[in-house]
Subunit: 140 residues, 2 copies
């Protein structure tokens, strides 16, 4: 047979880790703000990018168009995001944070940075690890 050991397989390990971290992190904002993981991503991107289209988010984050669209719809219903048709190109939707959305994001940024600090403190060769991530993410 083969001497293949799943625990040494990179995609597997990364998946387990990524799932755990995202889930654990999401518990830190879910009950407080009631948003889901895809919604968190949209809000986080809007926080740094201003007015952005669905297409833009879909391209930057690897989220399906429909996933972005539905997350945006829920965020709008919750009052965190405003949607309006772009005046220059009426196919596009401009997404922006509302005041409530900005307030939430301000809190979330703190929570995220605290979590990030926890994670990084577990690493020894932090820079090498992050460089490795970069290298693997570089391919498109």
């Amino acid at each position: 047979m083969s001497d293949f050991v799943l625990d040494t397989f990179l995609p597997y390990r990364l998946n387990v880790l990524a799932g755990r971290l995202s889930r654990e992190f999401s518990t830190r904002y879910r009950e407080r703000f009631g948003i889901t993981i895809p919604e968190w991503r949209v809000v986080a991107h809007l926080g740094q990018a201003g007015a952005v289209s669905v297409r833009e988010i879909h391209a930057r984050v690897d989220m399906d168009k429909s996933k972005v669209s539905r997350a945006a719809a829920r965020l709008e219903a919750a009052g965190y995001v405003a949607k309006r048709t772009s005046p220059t190109d009426r196919r596009l939707v401009e997404l922006t944070l509302t005041d409530n959305g900005r307030a939430m994001m301000a809190e979330l940024a703190g929570v995220a940075q605290a979590y990030q600090a926890e994670l990084l403190s577990r690493l020894e060769h932090t820079d090498d690890f992050l460089d490795g991530l970069d290298a693997l993410l570089e391919a498109e």
Copy 2:
């Protein structure tokens, strides 16, 4: 506002990367064997572990019981896995690879190792990166 940048957020980056790698890797076996990602995980684990219960896989891999159960059912229907009730504890199900399953796993091991080699060749400080992964995965 906040100076939070999503692209530097570790859980986010790991999720994007893990999703991409798993998806890309799955294209290398999906058309050939017609199995899904959860099914690949079960087969890979069986290849290294012999007769194993659903509980065991659920605990080792972070897959829900029901996910394991359904993957195992599909693998059984496809003829890659045999299920039988444990003789010592009739609550348990013993999962084993069939001959077909072993043959498939032998091929898959090669494919996986080739993919792993590709990935590692992109890294500079391979050991530090892997150590970092270990460190982050250690907590439970």
